[in-house]
């Protein structure tokens, strides 16, 4: 922040000594009273100005309106046809980087939450298998038959209606979790074979013997769909207890199927990991490929920003202050060379840091993709739970980073309240990003199939960005951790400490110089006055002492020698003082 308007002009010891030495001793009191050891602003005015800084209306524009417009611009930049979406170059990032640039500041790469989520979604798509449904590959008629026979022999009741004598009602074995549905839902895992699916889906826990009529009515629907569908015969003709039984059977079967399939996934993953050394692990290879792809593009973006920042700064400075500006050089060519050298030095000095930053991002990306690959390998409820954890992985890493940081990029210490505030904002924006992605269909579903469908991604980026900005602004307004007053207090301390230091320094310089000059003048005067006194008392010529006194007091005399005085007496009839 700018301290200029609060700054007290500092006195310089040398300048003040020179000035006082050039001042007539007769003007000393006046001169000393003229010095401003502090400005005329009252401390209360200063405090109110600092308060205004924190409460000014402009902040709403800076903190909310401008970022929202940048979010819109970001959406456009992110259009796939521009090919910039993975570079991390966005309007808001560019503007912020350029605005806050200084040669003293180190370049650091920034997280793009929306892009991270998109990368993750892309990885999920790669990890998702589109398995065509072929009943023959997943149906085990032999097992079904065995199950039916065993059931009829041992119990003989309808497993859905609980009625006895099902043997006389065209008994049929039903897949409680229908095969088509199961393939659609669980078949997406790359780490499940058709054999795994066939074996699990035809286990006893997924089979139920029921009468032919009910089974035909159910068709390829799941039990819950069949029960809840109004026009369906099951919904209208079956008793409530039958419906309840069907739902319960479905819940139990689903849980057992998922448990069995996830066990198979775990075994298959274990086998896959064993092939890492041969470089054949599908899990590792997929994660590696995408991390490299995403990381490379992000690295290109970082390099572009690293280059743009100082170049823009120089051009801006040239337009504002001229080619030479505040540089300590002689001509424009020298200034240009100096500026270009400064850019080159900055880029080179930050190149190593940027390289390691990118390497770190690459590793973080790899770990994220690896976790995502494992999560997508599993099915059902377990997958959903793991998904929440894995998608929040980056946020968790960021939160840990914030909590372990002692200073911000500008070198200011970060307090616990500021850390808590940053973590809350991070988690809130992460949640908004993921919620936006999950509800994309319900928000923008109406665009599907229309000529403007290609704008869906762009609008989603804009909406998520705007929502994140608004959320952050709202959290700021709520000031849950009283960060605003903490920051204001730090600012008040900074300003007043600067001012007090300047006042004390000025007072010190003022006192030292004035004591020194006044003592010197007093001594000088005493010497001249004593000479004068001596000359008067001893009937000697006093004029030399008088000349000295006039010089000492910076007073111009009309006659600077006795000859001049005699000439004055001869030429002027009347002497006027």
């Amino acid at each position: 922040m700018n301290n200029e308007k609060y700054t007290i002009k500092e006195l310089s010891f040398d300048a003040m000594i020179d000035e006082l030495n050039g001042t007539s001793p007769l003007n000393m009191s006046k001169k000393l009273m003229e010095y401003e050891l502090f400005d005329q602003q009252s401390s209360l005015e200063i405090l109110n100005q600092i308060y205004e800084e924190f409460e000014s209306k402009e902040d709403i524009v800076d903190e909310l309106v401008t970022p929202v417009f940048f979010n819109i611009a970001d959406g456009l930049v992110k259009h796939p046809k521009l090919g910039l979406q993975k570079t991390g170059i966005t309007a808001s990032r560019l503007v912020n980087e350029i605005k806050s640039f200084s040669y003293e500041q180190q370049h650091t790469s920034e997280r793009d939450m929306i892009q991270d989520k998109q990368n993750l979604d892309e990885n999920t798509k790669t990890n998702t298998l589109i398995r065509p449904y072929d009943r023959k590959t997943v149906e085990d008629k032999k097992k079904m038959k065995t199950y039916k026979e065993n059931h009829l022999n041992q119990n003989g009741y309808d497993e859905y209606t609980n009625q006895d004598g099902v043997a006389n009602m065209r008994p049929q074995p039903d897949h409680i979790v229908p095969l088509a549905k199961a393939v659609e839902e669980y078949g997406t895992s790359k780490f499940l074979s058709n054999e795994n699916l066939k074996q699990t889906l035809n286990e006893d826990f997924n089979l139920a013997v029921t009468n032919g009529s009910l089974n035909q009515s159910k068709g390829s629907k799941s039990n819950s769909e069949a029960v809840n569908e109004n026009k369906n015969t099951i919904a209208s003709k079956q008793t409530e207890s039958t419906k309840k039984q069907m739902i319960q059977k479905e819940t139990e079967a689903k849980s057992a199927v998922e448990k069995e399939l996830n066990s198979a996934v775990a075994i298959n993953l274990k086998e896959d990991i064993k092939t890492v050394i041969q470089g054949k692990s599908q899990l590792i290879n997929d994660a590696k490929d995408q991390a490299i792809k995403d990381g490379t593009q992000k690295a290109i973006g970082e390099v572009v920003i690293l280059l743009i920042k100082p170049i823009y700064y120089e051009f801006n400075d040239i337009f504002k202050n001229g080619m030479i500006g505040n540089l300590n050089v002689n001509d424009k060519i020298e200034a240009f060379i100096y500026r270009m050298k400064r850019v080159k030095d900055y880029v080179l000095n930050n190149a190593v840091g940027t390289f390691f930053d990118n390497l770190k991002n690459l590793l973080q990306g790899f770990v994220t993709m690896l976790i995502n690959g494992i999560v997508n390998a599993f099915v059902g409820l377990l997958k959903k739970i793991l998904q929440v954890i894995s998608e929040g992985f980056t946020a968790i890493i960021e939160a840990i980073k914030i909590l372990s940081k002692d200073k911000d990029n500008a070198g200011n210490p970060i307090t616990p309240a500021q850390k808590a505030d940053a973590v809350v904002k991070l988690l809130a924006t992460t949640a908004v990003t993921f919620l936006g992605a999950y509800f994309e269909e319900s928000i923008l579903g109406f665009m599907t199939g229309t000529p403007v469908e290609f704008l869906k991604d762009v609008i989603m980026v804009m909406l998520t960005g705007i929502a994140s900005t608004v959320i952050v602004w709202l959290i700021d307004q709520a000031d849950l951790f009283s960060v605003k007053s903490e920051k204001r207090l730090m600012r008040v301390k900074e300003i007043f400490e600067l001012r007090i230091e300047a006042i004390k320094k000025n007072t010190d310089i003022f006192e030292k110089t004035s004591i020194e000059v006044l003592a010197k003048q007093k001594l000088q005067f005493k010497k001249i006055a004593s000479n004068m006194h001596h000359a008067i008392e001893n009937n000697l010529n006093v004029n030399d002492a008088v000349y000295e006194m006039a010089n000492f007091m910076h007073i111009d005399l009309q006659a600077k020698s006795t000859d001049e005085f005699l000439a004055l007496l001869s030429t002027k009839k009347q002497l006027v003082i």
Binding site: P25, M33, F38, S42, I46, R499, V576
Partner: protein, 312 residues
Amino acid sequence: MFDFVISVKDSIIDTAEAINDFVGDGVDFAIDEVKNGSAKVWNGVTGKDKFNEAEKLHKKITREYHKEETSYEKQSKLLLESLEQTISSINNYKQEIYKTHFSQFTLLANRLHNLSIQGESFLEYFDSSIYEMKNVNGVRSKNDMFRIDFNNLKAQEIGIGILTLGWSTRSKALETLRNIQEEKERINDDIAKMKAHITQLQQALSALENIEEYFASLTYNYAKLLHRFKYGIASQTQKNLLKNIALEKGKLDFKMMPLVHIEEFQALFNLSIILKAMATMGYLDEQGNMNEEDQQAIDNIKLLVNKELIVA
């Protein structure tokens, strides 16, 4: 609701005391710990600890500011009085220069050559209010800075405090503490200004005392030299009378004068220029930029001087 929470807190303490009665004195320490612990937790949750800290700090800075302000007022009063006395003494010298020294010199000089000293002494009016420090505000009142008063909580504050699990009262107490901490920084600025102002007054007084000394010393030497010159003129007049040399228009002929008396005349002539410059300038305000008050003061002094002369 708040009463309910307080009653829960009280019952914890009562229960602890009941246990104490039952078990005996051996657990006194534990009871005290529970009491202190629960009070600490309570104060921490509601923000009362911050409020107490704010009150303590407010008292401390008020006391410190008052001490500094009293010391500043005392010192500045003394300095301003000294400044006034010195200005008054300088005014006397200025008047004496025109009234006594210049008139004597003019009288003697005219025995030798036509000479006049124009102008009049510039008497300065000292208005201490001009040199008093402005823009110092002092410690603001509690009303201006306290966002919450735990000694007088409103029902609404209690209600919101409970609904937000103490967040609202806590954040208000923290805001209050920070306001006081900011006030501490602010008054330090005022204190630094006061100290700077005292230094400035001290140095201005030193400079003015130097000038007073210049007046004293120069007027003394001027009077001595005038005496020597008077003797020179008298002896030359005597010499002319003895030699029967007629005085042209009653004046001595400077061409016939010994050089030593011409040098004395020259020294007095130049010293008069110096003293005139000293007597016609202002030492705290620019000469020629007199304000109405200055002019009024000069007029009043002139009036008094004239009255004195008439009376005499």
